[in-house]
């Protein structure tokens, strides 16, 4: 497989600093980079019409198209439920994926079971495709665990909160795949903000030098909490790949078909010995950064309105309808299914048992007995018992 021409066009455009008047060093260097339509791989327009692209195409069966739609509706529904549960005090926090459903479902559905995924903290749609129960995700945000699923069960690593760290883990895992002579690939998710972290550049570099089978999948949702992308980069991010020696592609992140097509290509490229690929899914964080955030402090709602017109679900629905792949009844069935899921989660969260604290604190610090941990666990138990005794006696 050779590199597709469209996927590498960094460089020349990168060097557009010349001639700019200096205004002061900490004012951003440029306005927000224009979305140049030509750069963006798109196979489904915001209006739900199929588009052609010289390098990427995808041929999904009607059933697959319905599946993608169903996936997106389900994850949007449970994401919304989580926001509600947080407002009700059932979760400590939630990071909503609203608006990023196509980027996540499209990329996740491009993967094989033996591929491995390294997510950030917002990949609920990817988790869904890797069969992680949304209830387990909610448990993490409720505070009963730092994750709770077994990453090796579905080749889906734990959420990583320290920005960028997981990209290096992904590369290491991919190095291991190559050593094993396996033909799986790895996907490392990260955000536009994360691209500024040294770890992410080191990951690009290790992957390039070792030609590792890893796809760096950036969801450029335009914001890193309150900071717009011009605080993170000055030229479109996908162009960074070329400087590290591998292809970069920008795809319409709200177009589930284009995302799946590009990711499939990238994974194939990686697994067949082509080395890493950077995919920049150009999308938008429709909600707050997390439930504690207040976007009205830093962005205009007009921007959000603009992006509503590019909604990933509405877009696929229009296609399904236009092409007669699904009808009103089918859409209603999906909605009902989503409601059922929401109910299960609501009930599940509300009745979620609290774990035993001492086990949560002490049991997995080390794999084997450890003198200090044992000592502290014993002290904790003695104290807890004395408290319980005191309470029985009427307390202090």
């Amino acid at each position: 497989m050779t590199t597709k021409s469209s996927s590498v066009r960094a460089g020349g455009k990168g060097a557009r600093g010349g001639g700019r008047r200096r205004t002061g060093s900490t004012a951003p260097a440029s306005g927000r980079p224009a979305t140049e339509a030509a750069e963006l791989v798109q196979l489904l327009t915001p209006e739900g019409e199929r588009a052609e692209h010289p390098d990427y195409s995808i041929d999904l069966t009607p059933e697959q198209l319905r599946d993608r739609y169903r996936d997106m509706v389900m994850v949007r529904r449970f994401d919304g439920e989580a926001v509600t549960l947080q407002r009700q005090g059932e979760l400590g926090l939630w990071a909503s994926l609203l608006g990023q459903e196509a980027a996540q479902i499209g990329s996740a559905r491009a993967m094989r079971p033996d591929d491995y995924v390294f997510p950030t903290y917002r990949e609920h749609g990817v988790a869904w495709c890797r069969d992680v129960d949304p209830l387990t995700l909610m448990g993490m945000f409720r505070g009963v665990s730092h994750g709770g699923w077994d990453p090796n069960e579905n080749n889906f690593h734990l959420y990583t909160i320290v920005i960028g760290s997981q990209t290096l883990h992904a590369v290491g895992y991919a190095m291991g795949i190559a050593k094993d002579g396996a033909d799986a690939a790895v996907t490392a998710y990260f955000g536009d903000g994360a691209s500024s972290q040294g770890d992410v550049s080191e990951a690009f570099n290790f992957a390039s030098v070792y030609n590792s089978p890893v796809v760096f999948f950036c969801q450029n949702n335009q914001w890193a909490i309150s900071e717009p992308t011009e605080r993170q980069f000055r030229v479109p991010l996908y162009q960074r790949a070329a400087g590290f020696g591998f292809p970069g592609v920008r795809v319409d992140g709200n177009d589930v078909l284009a995302v799946e097509a590009v990711t499939r290509w990238a994974l194939d490229h990686a697994r067949s010995g082509g080395g890493p690929v950077l995919v920049e899914a150009y999308t938008y964080r429709m909600g707050a950064h997390t439930t504690t955030d207040d976007p009205s402090r830093y962005r205009l709602s007009a921007e959000q309105e603009q992006w509503k017109l590019k909604d990933p679900i509405a877009r696929l629905k229009a296609l399904l309808t236009r092409e007669g792949i699904a009808d009103h009844d089918w859409f209603e069935t999906v909605d009902a299914e989503a409601e059922q899921l929401a109910k299960r989660l609501r009930d599940g969260v509300r009745s979620m048992p609290n774990p035993e604290p001492s086990s949560l604190i002490f049991d997995n610090v080390y794999t084997e007995p450890h003198a200090l941990v044992d000592e502290e666990r014993a002290a904790y138990r003695r104290f807890a018992e004395s408290l319980a005794d005191a309470e029985q006696e009427g307390g202090r």
């Binding site: 993490m140 309150s226 605080r231 955030d293 830093y298 949560l360 807890a384």
Partner: protein, 332 residues
Amino acid sequence: MATETMPLMKAINAGLRKALEEDPKTLLMGEDVGRLGGVFRVTDGLYKDFGEERVVDTPLAESGIVGTAIGLALRGYRPILEIQFDGFVYPAFDQITTQLAKMHARALGKLRMPVTIRMPYGGGIGSVEHHSESPEAYFAHTAGLRVVSPSDSSDAYWMLQQAVRSDDPVLYLEPKRRYWQKGALDTAAEPSIGLHQARVHRPFEGDAPADLTLIAYGPMVKTCLDAAAAAAAEGRRLEVVDLRSISPIDFDTVQACVEASGRALVVHEAPVFGAIGGEVAARITERCFYSLEAPVLRVGGYHAPYPPAKAEEEYLPGVDRVLEAVDRSMAY
């Protein structure tokens, strides 16, 4: 009359404003410190009033934040950095320990690093992983840094001024669970207490020496004061030394207290093993060997990663654990 009652967080905000007003070379830098005003709103309003040249949203890269601040300091600026959460300081660890802390010594005194690093720390707010840690021991062990932590609104304001004015790098640790704790602040009169002096609270009646000296800083000062109040109700006299500074530590004050009381207990949220409590205990024992009625005890976090929120109450030292340790000490 400049005395007001305000939450600790607002006192920091007022302190930052003062620093920006007084010295045109000061700047704030960090993630989301600008338009958003920080994830806790500690820098609220400053971007609006001082503009993006003074209140600088940075790329998402902690090493970059500290590294460029070093360069700005070399150019004569006085950067005040924000690290968004305790658990995110580690990418900057190299720049802090090998560059920022050592620059003055490396240059035989010819370069100065007037950089303040603000960082919310500690647990108790029900947060997700990496948002509740107490990494102060790493920094206290690092020569060249000064490490301080206020426990009330007045200290929050005034210690910030002293930190910013210092020509040494200062790590200014903000007890995030106390951000909303109200306290009096007189912005007109600078207190005479130095940045590295401890303050002694004796929340009990009479002048007789305390039965035991509690030693704490930052968020645990309130916990210890609560414990002392509870103990006072039972007739036990606990004094509380608010260290205020973790590096250096005002051991003269500590020594005077413990020589009188004969018993000491150090309390912090950080895991006990290898933390500041050990240093304090060891040094008290060196200085007060013949006065000690009991070994200096320590109450703190366990040797374990900070647990999920549902277990944090059990992980964190609370009044009960403090009093249990007091009992153990008194039993000697």
